[in-house]
């Protein structure tokens, strides 16, 4: 059996409200383990128990029951903390210090000699991209810069285990990528990285194992490949719709691709009717975009239109050849056909109730048989709110 960096067994934490003494169960029997040298993603909605678990592991919170070991040391353990680097959620540091002084303070608390403190601080400050901000007090740092400073101080002791609570929070896309690269580099150095996040694309991109927590209980635990179903859930098809009869150039919407210069005009659409339950985009009137042939949407589990493009998800066992024939007959041009596998996001949304993660409602994978057609701007906004909008 591989050596464990973290071993948590039946961990519970119950708080009581100050006056009414009402019980709040933040953790309810959480059990999981992290092998050494792995990147472990800890995923869950707000209030699921991610931060409580991490704070319990780091000795900030005393568990009500259960046991845990870090690097073989039972909690609470100062010996273990010697070998751990920790970045708290939304870190707040002494704002009168600069990043070098913050690293120096961390180094002193780890008992590092002055020369090593200085060398490590210099190296880490450059590594997290704060070289130019060395002399500035942390008071003047942006949220992303504070996050980087937090990463630098967390790595001062050259830790065996790095625990990061929401390390991508507040970072721009470049910063997120840099943190992802840093996490991967840490693993390459043989370190174990345990991090919590909301951003599922980050988890899918870099983790060896994942745990999903909700309502203080672990919902799933394993490698991303183990957790998600490998079977085909559906066929994703995107077609470009024909222009309506008598229309000139197709109307462009924000985000829709420009037609290439000199492209042949789309053939006239055959009998084409707006399907029931599929309202036009809000900004469609008065010069209506191409209407949708009802035959194309038959059997689709999800329909979405962006400008003159129509995206559908067909059932996994749908007759794709027949559908393509129908699409050609309707004058539509096939843009893309791809099988749709389950993603970590699908699993997450399945395990987490909409009440816990209300913004997940209407997201891909949880849609009813036929979803409304959001405008491009609306779709982008929804993705952004979920924190999953890629650059």
């Amino acid at each position: 059996m591989a050596e464990l960096a973290i071993d948590v067994h039946d961990l519970t934490k119950t708080y009581r409200t100050p006056f009414t003494r009402r019980r709040i169960e933040a953790l309810r029997g959480v059990t999981f383990s992290v092998e050494r040298g792995q990147i472990f993603g800890f995923v869950g909605p707000n209030g699921a128990g991610k931060t409580t678990t991490i704070r319990t592991l780091m000795g900030l919170v005393r568990p009500s029951s259960g046991r845990a070991t870090l690097l073989g040391h039972a909690l609470p353990s100062r010996d273990a903390r010697h070998k751990i680097g920790f970045l708290p959620e939304a870190p707040y540091f002494y704002d009168y210090l600069d990043v070098g002084e913050l690293c120096d303070l961390a180094g002193r608390l780890f008992g590092l000699p002055p020369q090593i403190r200085k060398a490590r601080a210099d190296e880490l400050i450059e590594r997290v991209g704060l070289g130019r901000a060395r002399g500035q007090s942390l008071k003047k740092f942006s949220k992303g810069m504070l996050q980087r400073a937090g990463l630098a101080q967390a790595l001062m002791n050259d830790p065996e285990l790095v625990v990061l609570d929401e390390p991508m929070s507040g970072l721009d896309p470049i910063g997120r990528k840099e943190v992802r690269d840093l996490i991967l580099a840490l693993r390459d150095q043989g370190k174990t990285v345990f991090f919590s996040t909301h951003i599922l694309s980050d988890v899918e991109a870099i983790t060896d194992r994942v745990a999903i927590i909700a309502r203080g209980q672990l919902q799933a635990h394993g490698t991303p490949a183990e957790l998600v179903s490998q079977s085909v859930l559906g066929i994703e098809v995107t077609v470009r719709l024909p222009l309506p009869a008598g229309a000139g150039k197709p109307r462009r919407q924000a985000g829709s691709p420009e037609a290439p210069a000199g492209a042949p005009e789309a053939p006239e659409a055959p009998e084409s009717v707006p399907p029931p339950g599929l309202p036009d985009a809000p900004d469609a009137a008065p010069d209506a975009p191409p209407s949708i042939d009802l035959a194309l949407t038959r059997g689709a589990t999800r329909v979405r239109r962006l400008g003159d493009e129509l995206s559908l998800v067909l059932a996994a066992d749908a007759d794709v050849d027949a559908w393509i024939t129908r699409a050609h007959a309707a004058g539509a041009k096939i843009v893309q056909i791809a099988p749709r596998h389950e993603t970590l996001e699908d699993l997450f949304l399945r395990r987490v109730t909409p009440e816990e993660f209300p913004r997940a409602k209407g997201s891909p994978g949880t849609s009813p048989a036929v979803a409304p057609l959001p405008s491009v701007a609306g779709a982008d906004r929804a993705a952004g709110e979920n924190g999953q909008a890629e650059p």
């Binding site: 708080y15 900030l60 903390r81 010697h82 708290p88 870190p91 540091f93 002494y94 608390l109």
Partner: protein, 262 residues
């Protein structure tokens, strides 16, 4: 261990040195000394006497108020702003953290008492009065007083809000200062009140031991202007204060150890 405590102490010193209220208190102390010069000129007999009394009272009063202010805020803000999350996750015991915070506060208060004392000595010299060893002893006693009050404030701050901690610490300082007067007041009271008062006074540090000028000690009058306590008394008072400081910090560490930083 010493290195970790020193790291926290230095950081606390830097943090406290940035608190503008402290500079306001310094200005207030200098203003009080100037007022003492003015009052001294109005005095019929000894202008230097007024300067010494006002100067020493200023060290005791402003030093203790500063100790309460720092004690109740410095620990609380660590928890409130969650800066403590980064610290406690490092290989440092919570008692080391408390000791470091106290040591940092002690450094700040020592500097302040030193500045207050220098201002008083300058004023006394301005008044044409010599600086006696009694003044030195009184300043050292005031320093012990300030350090003890700081430990009281830290103790309350380990489990209470700044407002309540401030009220409790202020109350203990006042009661500790007035212990002999309170004992005298209840001497003629009913046994029940007498016993209750004595028990209550036992759990309050004897801060009056640090402010002996103008009191009667072992049947003799003690005054910074005349016969003052010997250095042995100063030493014993210091040991007494140290005992309270250690006890209060140990209790604070115990309470802090049980706290969740959620």
């Amino acid at each position: 261990m010493i290195g970790r405590i020193w790291a926290i102490a230095l950081n606390t010193f830097r943090e406290a040195a940035r608190i503008r209220v402290l500079y306001g208190i310094l200005v207030l102390v200098f203003a009080t000394n100037l007022l003492a010069i003015f009052l001294g000129q109005l005095a019929v007999y000894d202008a230097g006497r007024v300067a010494r009394d006002v100067g020493l009272a200023g060290i005791s009063l402003f030093g203790s108020l500063t100790a309460i202010f720092l004690g109740v805020f410095l620990l609380y803000t660590e928890v409130q702003r969650r800066t403590i999350h980064v610290i406690v996750a490092k290989p440092i015991s919570r008692w080391e953290f408390i000791a470091g915070k106290y040591a940092g506060m002690g450094l700040v208060l020592t500097v302040l008492v030193g500045v207050f004392a220098l201002a008083m000595i300058a004023m006394v010299i301005t008044q044409g009065t010599g600086v006696s060893s009694a003044i030195g002893k009184a300043v050292v006693l005031a320093w012990f007083e300030v350090l003890t009050v700081a430990a009281i404030a830290i103790f309350f701050s380990a489990f209470s809000t700044p407002f309540l901690s401030g009220i409790f610490a202020l109350a203990m300082w006042v009661i500790g200062r007035l212990t002999p007067d309170l004992e005298a007041q209840v001497r003629a009271a009913t046994p029940w009140i007498r016993i209750t008062t004595r028990i209550a006074l036992q759990i309050v540090p004897d801060i009056h031991l640090f402010a002996v000028s103008g009191r009667t000690l072992d049947g003799g009058a003690v005054s910074v202007h005349g016969e003052f306590v010997p250095w042995s008394y100063v030493g014993l008072a210091g040991i007494h204060g140290l005992g309270w400081i250690v006890a209060l910090l140990a209790l604070a560490a115990l309470l802090f150890h049980r706290r969740d930083f959620a």
